[in-house]
């Protein structure tokens, strides 16, 4: 098929200098971002990791000192409180957001008049800073003039709602404010998921005589699995790095009873000049995120591949 001998006459132009530049451009453009990620994400993780193995206090020192910071971290009662609070807050916050979010999404999916308006109301807290949310709820929940006072004025003289100033209970107020802020988001995700369910499947189920409830429980909700996963990932991420809400709502108090790892890290690294201990707590936070998110994402992508 080939005509031999013709190749002798062929011209062989060389690549132009401009073409070399043009070909390199995509990498050159992406370069700075990658460099940033490499240094400011991965490099800094290593840096913090290193600090966590030193006995740095007010100023960073770089002589390794072994696991001293981790040992003292896990001997620190306050750290254990923070971890316990994270478990309480994380579990309740995620649970309340998922359940309420799904409920609201299903309710809104019933051909509701003014759906857009209601949706906007459920979602607006998401636009606010956690600091603003915390400030507002701090006022609402304060026993003196807030909700407790209101209910007492309505005639329930012995009504008591003073969690925000009660050690052991203040973490639950963080759950209330956090869920108020984030439920709308979960609702929006679920609503988008509901709208994405194939109409034909639902019609088929109706033809088969399934009731509305049945259609929801055995067809629609199971098909929202990916949305559950995304919400779970996002919510657990929010929970683990929750910082501003606690700072604004309780300041970690009373005492340190509503501390979370994020506030613990901030307090020790920046207020108490315990850089080594702060670094160690940050590394534990990172590992917690990895330990929770990696299996979730792995399950999600595996499922995705099977689905295809």
């Amino acid at each position: 098929m080939t005509e031999t001998g013709a190749s002798g006459k062929l011209v062989h132009p060389q690549r132009r200098f401009g073409d070399y530049i043009e070909n390199a451009l995509p990498k050159v453009v992406l370069g700075p971002t990658l460099l940033c990620a490499l240094i400011f994400v991965y490099g800094f993780i290593l840096w913090t990791g290193w600090l966590s193995f030193t006995d740095s206090r007010l100023l960073p020192r770089y002589e390794l000192a072994g696991f001293v910071q981790y040992v003292s971290l896990f001997q620190n009662e306050r750290w254990w409180t923070a971890l316990g609070n994270l478990a309480i807050f994380g579990g309740l916050f995620i649970g309340v957001c998922l359940v309420t979010g799904l409920l609201l999404a299903i309710l809104l999916d019933q051909r509701i008049r003014a759906e857009g308006f209601l949706r906007a109301i459920y979602l607006y807290p998401m636009a606010l800073s956690f600091i603003v949310t915390g400030t507002a709820w701090r006022w609402i929940l304060n026993p003196g003039l807030g909700l407790q006072n209101l209910v007492r004025q309505l005639g329930f003289e012995s009504f008591t709602f003073d969690w925000i100033v009660t050690p052991g209970m203040s973490i639950y107020t963080v759950v209330i404010a956090g869920a108020w802020q984030s439920t709308g988001f979960v609702m929006a995700l679920f609503l988008a998921g509901l709208r994405g369910v194939d109409d034909a499947i639902i019609k088929a189920a109706q033809v088969d005589g399934a009731s509305s409830t049945r259609i929801y429980t055995s067809i629609i909700i199971p098909s929202l699995r990916p949305v559950f996963f995304s919400s779970l990932i996002i919510l657990s991420h929010i929970a683990i790095k929750s910082f501003d809400l606690v700072m604004a709502l309780t300041g970690g108090g009373p005492g340190f009873s509503s501390d979370l790892p994020a506030t613990f890290m901030y307090t020790f690294a920046f207020n108490r000049n315990q850089i080594g201990l702060g670094a160690a707590s940050a590394m534990i936070m990172l590992m917690t995120v990895v330990a929770i998110l990696v299996p979730l994402m792995y399950a999600e992508t595996r499922r995705g591949h099977h689905g295809r």
Binding site: V29, F44, I140, A282
Partner: protein, 293 residues
Amino acid sequence: MADGHHTQTAGSHRVGRIVIYALLVVFALYYLMPLFVMVTTSLKTLDDIRTGNLISLPREISFDAWIKAWSSACSGVSCNGLKGNFINSVSFVLPAVAISTLIGAFNGYVLTMWRFRGSDVLFTLLLIGCFIPFQVVLLPMAQTLGYLGIANSIPGLIFVHVVYGLAFTTLFFRNFYVTVPPDLTKAARIDGAGFFTIFWRIILPLSPAIIVVSVIWQFTQIWNDFLFGVVFSSGERQPITVALNNLVNTSTGVKEYNVDMAAAIIAGLPTLFVYIVAGKYFLRGLTAGAVKG
């Protein structure tokens, strides 16, 4: 959806509808309550607050708390209100949003239209940046800003927010540009257009919607940020969220809840305004960030 078909009688159907609407309205009231309380409290006098209750309307509307929150409330040691911090926030949020969106657009363009061996791996590496708890970078960043001479400065905050916002903006644009047919770029290359020509003349004109999404997302994120603000700035340079927190926690004399609430509304107003004006895009930003979760 599933409600199109009902086997129940009309009566039970009506009851069902009433229950649904009642639930929705109760939830709506619950979600609106804090906003209502904030607004009414901010318009009350301290006397009014002490004698009334959480949901009582102001006896007379007073803007004193707003004026004080804006120009003379004490946060920390200074008593200049939130005015200066509001300007601080504006002056680092706007550049940070613009820069991170522009770079994100270029990154997304490269990652979809000019893919090279390993570009997908690089994208994944970049994406992980969305998920790290920022506590893990605070200490090194504080040091680095010092070395660079931009600690406790507006450029420093711009820098930090751009660096840690890039993962998100890149994700937005990348996910949008994968829906643009790569043939467009190929056709333009054959027509003789180069990397930047294709971006400015072909790809960017397709992108207004995703630019809005990215700008809104970045704006809310950066405006609402507290962590970077509280760690990397102090005193006069603090962003509004940090100043608000200080104001609320500054305990000199009587606690002025009306001023606190006015300050909180001032701090929340810009993002709330964006939400009301461009809610559709706000939602798209949230879900776009989530879908790739």
